[in-house]
Symmetry: C2
Subunit: 486 residues, 2 copies
């Protein structure tokens, strides 16, 4: 078993963003800054090709990208037009930041309160990091559970090994082609969801008191994992489109004894971006140069709206320096609660930690998931789900644009179901969160996404449930409440 | 919800060991030191009552205790006789110890190796801390899984709350009468087995670098939990019969900044004792006096050979100072892998840690266990299981006595399935462990049970599987190998 190399093409340095995406983004910024307005007609494919000196197929791909992102729509025999709902709002402003310094995390109490609030009956759940059961393949999952239980009558009376069930590890290995990675079954360690995967990953590479670089804003589950281990977070500003500022990261590493980098390259929570492959390669190279392991959170990577599943950082890793953490929990089967780690050169340490902290993952959930993956419906499910989530997030964005006060800005996610909203000056995200609770609407206050409680003017609005008239009404209420906070 | 009090009779201080046990133990030591030999006749009940000035019923109870422990047997119309198999060996010697000092734990690597060795095919599994599936109610568990899956079709697609499924928490609360405790459903936090329960408990009361008092020898899962959190273990010598030396504990607390006491009062692993209620009350009082929380490992408490389920330390706790950790994993359903914590005044902290480290326990295993407990067969299962384990451990003890070199000593457990064997001078437990591996026999080296790697002359032999002729042969081989080590 080789732990050193997992990238399929270890030597291939990806070019930066593909040409068609760069072309598409030019239009996107014109739409964002208002030089193209809803209803405006775009040049024809031929015209565009001639004007920019690009191939027709590149022009077609650029328009397809814009259509997929809901920015434009085609009218038969007429051409492409800017869609009405685009952009819902301007993107959150980039921030001027002081050089980062490490800080202790203390989010546990507020997170428990939010969890409990989210589970109150009758809540409009825009603060729940879950996908609604009706969007998950309940019938097929239950069938897999029944088949697995019947095929392995000893499932209840035997422990799994700490690293996990061999059948499931084989299936995860089989699906690794989607990640452009080559992962052997015995390189997979099965965990109790992504949360345990991240905890084990972090604890394998850093100790209490150590400094870990994180995106700011960043996924609060990862921040909490740091908190629970007594580690310090070094917040590196993440830009709404292209993530962590690598220059800031590089100079921060030179100034602080950074032990690890926690990073989400795909469907970032909360900013929603998918990093271009060029940036991914740069990050992995930077970490390798500094000999600092990366713990990669790719739990949402399968939720990208792109045609092809985006590559993880892991696929650029040639020396086992990336600990890859993923999960089937959020996006397929929360109740089975299965995640996994491919820990590269830290495999043995993660396996030992797993055996020490939870011994093993429950048996039947592993067998049932293996059965489900063997039967081959996973990718079909993802296509359906990401279609729904893309629609949801666009409807949510449009609704925020309609109802929130002038000056509100929001992201335009490449995947996932989190909309990151920056409120106009003077409105506090936590006040809006509290006011919304009174109206039985759950959202997430921005301070959750930063150990030093930045992003006081932001909220996260999640849309993992089917969009209904009630959703629209709840966002209207939120907008009204936001207006009252000034 | 009151977290302060869980003892049913908070004011009742138990007397020390009951009189009949003390009487029985007098005979036991006479058997152990050879003044009573196999085949010797004991005095009659009447004679004993007159000679010691005790009631006839106390004398009857003493003989019943000795019979239950396999020390004596009754012949109709003739009286009570010392059994042939008793004692298998003398008890391990009490040790002269230096005053304890805290040490870092570093057992992770060796434990992973032992785990892997234990799972090799064809191994005689005297080193596996598992109860064989054939001793567990497989059919009834599978039925519970089927019923639960059918009754809750959303089990796969919904997360449980971090604290656990309400139905299961109700069942655990209902069964708390067996612990002489009064535990409300919302005081229960469901975990991924006892391992997670202990980890959460320890992390709730102590931080990296802190000193935690532990029994020596002690359960290596608990020691590993300390290791993984970077805490230091302060080894308090535990005596084969009555556990931690409370005087040593008391003075150690005065000298070191002890943050918590980790303790197993029932069916201690590896020594097998159940502490007398008086000692339990003393420990809880001592901890309360010093304001140091106790993390209690009661995962084996249901495996006691006594008529009544022994009380946990928790039942003597009046101010929420004991974090009670238990499990249905080992002794009922390893594959469901469910444990729980009652964390007293640390409830909120443990709940937050649970949500941070594994978010939630898988849903169907919780529903299935709730279904099983509701259907009422748990106590019947325990009666059957402890009967088998008692037979096993006595047969194992007798076999060790027959085959091991002269001078070997062993415990006489009050519960569980671990025999702690002290080898004659010059024989190293680790050498025997290694030699046994070559012969495909798994046992546990004594150094596993101590952070400072004491107990080099000891091994743990586990008998959670049905006793067969192969078992007898394996122990004979072990004895021969031990003889060759001198």
């Amino acid at each position: 078993m080789s732990r050193a190399s997992t990238a399929l093409e270890p030597s291939a340095r990806e070019p930066a963003t593909p040409l068609y995406v760069r072309v598409a983004r030019t239009f996107e910024s014109q739409i964002e800054n208002g030089s193209l307005k809803p209803g405006d007609r775009l040049p024809s494919v031929r015209e565009l090709s001639r004007r920019l000196g690009i191939s027709v197929s590149t022009a077609v791909a650029a328009f397809a990208w814009l259509e997929r992102h809901g920015a434009i729509h085609a009218r038969p025999k007429s051409g492409h037009y800017v869609s009405a709902a685009y952009p819902p709002t301007a993107a959150p402003r980039a921030r001027r930041e002081c050089p980062p310094s490490p800080s202790r995390v203390a989010l546990a109490d507020i997170v428990v309160d939010i969890h409990q609030a989210a589970h109150r009956p009758g809540m409009a759940r825009f603060g729940n990091a879950v996908i609604a059961p009706e969007l998950l393949p309940e019938g097929r999952l239950n069938r897999s559970v029944r088949l697995a239980a019947a095929a392995f009558p000893r499932h209840a009376t035997t422990y799994e090994s700490p690293a996990g069930n061999p059948r499931l590890r084989r299936q995860i290995s089989r699906l690794a082609y989607r990640l452009a990675c080559n992962i052997a079954p015995d390189e997979v360690i099965v965990t109790c969801g992504a949360t345990e995967a991240l905890n084990l990953g972090i604890r394998a590479v850093a100790s209490p008191g150590d400094v870990v670089a994180v995106e700011s804003p960043g996924c609060f589950e990862m921040l909490q994992a740091l908190e629970s281990c007594g580690m310090k977070a070094l917040e590196i500003p993440a830009r709404p489109r292209d993530g962590m500022d690598l220059d800031v990261l590089d100079s921060a590493i030179r100034r602080h004894a950074v032990k690890s980098i926690l990073m989400t390259a795909n469907c970032h929570n909360p900013l929603g971006y998918v990093l271009p492959d060029g940036v991914k390669a740069d990050v992995v190279a930077l970490a390798r140069r500094h000999r600092i392991p990366i713990v990669e959170d790719d739990a949402f990577g399968d939720l990208a709206f792109a045609e092809h599943r985006p590559r993880p950082l892991k696929s650029f890793d040639t020396d086992g320096n990336v600990l890859y953490c993923a999960s089937f929990s959020h996006l397929l089967a929360p109740g089975l609660h299965i995640g996994w780690v491919h820990a590269g050169r830290f495999h043995k340490r993660v396996e030992a930690l797993k055996s020490i902290t939870t011994l093993a993952t429950a048996t039947l959930p592993q067998l049932a998931l293996a059965e489900f993956l063997e039967s081959g419906g996973y990718e079909r499910h993802l296509r359906k789900l990401t279609g729904t989530l893309l629609r949801n997030i666009r409807l949510l964005g449009a609704s925020v644009a309609r109802h929130f006060p002038v000056g509100t800005r929001a992201t335009y996610p490449d995947g996932g179901y989190v909309l990151w909203v920056q409120l106009p000056r003077g409105i506090k995200g936590f006040d809006l969160y509290s006011a919304a609770l009174e109206h039985r609407i759950g959202i997430l206050p921005g301070i959750l996404f930063s150990p030093s409680r930045r992003f006081r003017d932001c909220v996260g609005i999640l849309c993992g449930a089917p969009w209904t008239e009630d959703s629209e009404r709840a966002i209207a209420t939120l907008g009204r409440l936001a207006g009252q906070q000034t």
